[in-house]
Structure formats: structure tokens, C-alpha cells
């Protein structure tokens, strides 16, 4: 902030025209977001922001700048979470310039002050955008972590029988993770039957089939029998029409069938109690 009269005069000017500027500013913002927030809500938000801008310009206290930054960060964080677009978020701050300009246009002597003010608002706009994208990045990385956690549970069905229920799309990174986890569990528990359940896998193409075959043959190298279960009718049709050959790998319609097969291979029998 430049010291001296310029910003002080601007602060006085803004304070005198507070109602008019905030009103116009809110209208511009609400028009920009096409009615996703109410005019009153925006008015309250921007009113607070406007008060802080005046305090910063007048240079009255040292905390004003920090507070302004904090409330801008808060504004863009909530916009990012509510799914507003980047330009909508940035314009929420930048349109104050237009609101003020419409007033200043009639007062030629305020032009230098307005230029300084405009530069300040630009900085604020950049800051808004930065914290907006930081928030989005954080949301995305949180979601990736959640997805990875969701994707690889290895469950013990019986003594010596483990299962991996796969959900979603299989890519190389996930297959690698699933494979490592399955093999580690086989070694750690001494299980010799593994069931890979693909009920939750929506599409099976040649690449996914390739990944499945790799996982099965790696498990076999450890000495475990591997069964693929949960092949849905559409998936079965796709597999056949793509000409994918599962060779001598046992495939079953449901996890229950696969468990029954594994129990039989382990020499166990389920009888009514």
C-alpha cells in the first residue's frame, strides 16, 4: 500500500459510497453465478470484505491486511467446495472494480486513486484464485487416497482361503497394488486358495483381462490356487467376443461358488448343523 493521501482518499471515497458500491457489486456477482446464491447472502459476504478493504486502504490498523487475506481464502475455499468455476470465483472479487468504476467515471479527479485501488484488487483476485486451486488440489488428492484405500481390501474367507473383492476400473497402478497385497497376504497367512471377485468391475477389456491373468499366475507361482469369481453376463459376453482365453484358470459365477470350490479343494465339506 503506498503511503500518503492516495489510499486514504480512496478509503474515504469508498466509505462514502459504501451502500451503492456493495449493492452494485453484489448484483454483478449474483448475475455472474446465475442465481446459485441469494442476493442477501452475497451482500453480507461482500459487505464484510468491503469493510476490510476500506480498513486496509485507510491504513488504520495492522491486522486488517491479514484479516482480509484470511476472509478471501475462506471465500474461495467455500466456493471451491461448492463447485463454483474458477472464473466465477475470481470474478466475485474482481467485479468490485467495475462497481467502483461506474461511480468514479463521473468524478475525474479520482482517477489516480482508482488506478491504485484497481492494482490492489488485482492482487486480491490472484490470491483468490491461488487459494481456490489449492483447495481443489487438496480435494482431489484426498479423493485419490480414499479411492486407493477403498480399492484393495484382502479378506480372509476361511482358514487358508482369502478373497480380493475388486471394485471399479482396473489400471496398471491398481493391479500392481492389488497383486502385491494379495501375494503378501498369501505369504503372511500361509493361505493356499485365493479368490479374485470381479463383481464390482464394470468393464473387462483386453488390458484388464491381461492384468487379471498376471495376478493369477503370480499367485500360482507362490503355490496358491486362484479362482476368478463374479463374472457378470455382459462381462462374460465381452470376454468371449474379445477372444480372451482364461486358459485353465477356474472361473465361477459367484463368490459363493468360488468358496465352495476352494473348500472342496481343501478337502472340507459343509454339512447342515
Amino acid at each position: 500500500m503506498d503511503v500518503g493521501g492516495t489510499s486514504g482518499r480512496m478509503a474515504d471515497y469508498l466509505r462514502d459510497h459504501q451502500d451503492k458500491v456493495v449493492g452494485r457489486w453484489s448484483e454483478l456477482v449474483v448475475a455472474g453465478v446465475r442465481g446459485r446464491t441469494s442476493l442477501d447472502e452475497v451482500r453480507r459476504e461482500l459487505g464484510d470484505l468491503y469493510g476490510l478493504i476500506i480498513r486496509v486502504l485507510s491504513g488504520a490498523d495492522d491486522h486488517a491486511e491479514g484479516e482480509l487475506r484470511a476472509s478471501l481464502d475462506e471465500l474461495s475455499r467455500s466456493r471451491a467446495r461448492d463447485g463454483f468455476s474458477p472464473s466465477e470465483t475470481a470474478l466475485a472479487v474482481l467485479s468490485v472494480k467495475e462497481a467502483v468504476y461506474e461511480l468514479v467515471a463521473d468524478a475525474a479527479e479520482m482517477v489516480p486513486e482508482f488506478l491504485a485501488f484497481s492494482r490492489m484488487v488485482d492482487d486480491l483476485g490472484v490470491r483468490t484464485f491461488e487459494s481456490y486451486s489449492a483447495t481443489r488440489e487438496r480435494i482431489i488428492s484426498d479423493q485419490v487416497t480414499t479411492m486407493m484405500e477403498l480399492s484393495t481390501p484382502v479378506v480372509r474367507l476361511w482358514d487358508g482361503i482369502i478373497a480380493v473383492p475388486l471394485v471399479g476400473t482396473l489400471d496398471s497402478a491398481r493391479t500392481q497394488l492389488v497383486m502385491e497385497k494379495l501375494l503378501d497376504t498369501l505369504v503372511a497367512t500361509g493361505a493356499d486358495h485365493a479368490v479374485i471377485d470381479i463383481t464390482g468391475v464394470s468393464t473387462v477389456d483386453t488390458e484388464v483381462a491381461q492384468h487379471l491373468l498376471k495376478t493369477v499366475s503370480a499367485a500360482r507361482l507362490l503355490g496358491a490356487n486362484c479362482t476368478i469369481s463374479g463374472i457378470r453376463p455382459q462381462v462374460a459376453q465381452t470376454i468371449v467376443s474379445l477372444g480372451i482365453d482364461f486358459g485353465d484358470i477356474a472361473t465361477k459365477a459367484t463368490l459363493a461358488d468360488a468358496l465352495a470350490l476352494a473348500l472342496r479343494q481343501a478337502g472340507l465339506k459343509v454339512v447342515p448343523a
Binding site: 501375494l183 498369501l186 505369504v187 499366475s217 500360482r220 507361482l221 507362490l222 503355490g223
Partner: protein, 117 residues
């Protein structure tokens, strides 16, 4: 060149690989094993690779060849104790060790051989 010892326990030959496998030592093992199979008439071979951390395509192929040679002497080969990382490597190399049985540990390997009789 390091030599891998071959132990005869009953009708089974037991090979535990405790060294970093070099190409020559694997070839030497293959020759020794063939000699031993011919001499003893054993009907099973257990190869323990718990200590093996690194394999390449040559060693993978030699393991398959050992299995094929043993079968000529009517002996079944079981490879036991493979580490997950080794299994992944062999799979990525496209080697599925056909003709060789695998088991999680030596105990389960022996069960496979005894169940055969």
C-alpha cells in the same frame, strides 16, 4: 563359483538355494541334480528359493528346465518359498514355470510330493 548342495531325504532331493544365483551356478546345479537323480532314483525334487531376492529370465528358464529334466527321471519338481517380488518379476517376464509345481513353503511342498504317491 559357488556350489548349491543337494540333500537326499527319503525319496526326495532337497535343494535350498542360499546364494545369489549366478548363471554358472544354476547350470552347475542343473548338472549336479541330473547326476543325483540318475544315481538315487529319487521321485521328487524340492527347490527352496526363500532366500532368492533377484531373478532374471535366464534363471526363470533354468528352473523350468530343471523341472523338465526331473520329469525325464519320473520325478516331480516343487519350487517352494517364492517371494512376492520374485513372483511379480517372473510374471512380468512372461514366465509361468509350466511343468513345475509351486508351494508356499517346504512343508506344503512335501505334502504335494507325498500326496502324489
Amino acid at each position: 563359483m559357488e556350489q548349491v548342495p543337494i540333500l537326499k531325504i527319503g525319496q526326495t532331493l532337497f535343494v535350498s538355494i542360499q546364494i545369489d544365483l549366478q548363471d554358472e551356478s544354476v547350470m552347475r546345479l542343473q548338472e549336479d541334480l541330473a547326476d543325483e537323480l540318475a544315481a538315487t532314483g529319487a521321485n521328487g525334487v524340492i527347490i527352496d528359493i526363500t532366500a532368492v531376492e533377484i531373478v532374471d529370465s535366464f534363471i526363470g528358464r533354468m528352473l523350468t528346465m530343471i523341472g523338465s529334466i526331473s520329469r525325464l527321471f519320473d520325478a516331480e519338481t516343487v519350487i517352494v518359498g517364492m517371494r512376492p517380488a520374485v513372483a511379480i518379476t517372473l510374471t512380468e517376464l512372461g514366465l509361468s514355470l509350466s511343468g513345475v509345481r509351486t508351494a508356499l513353503n517346504a512343508e506344503k511342498g512335501l505334502e504335494i510330493l507325498n500326496g502324489k504317491t
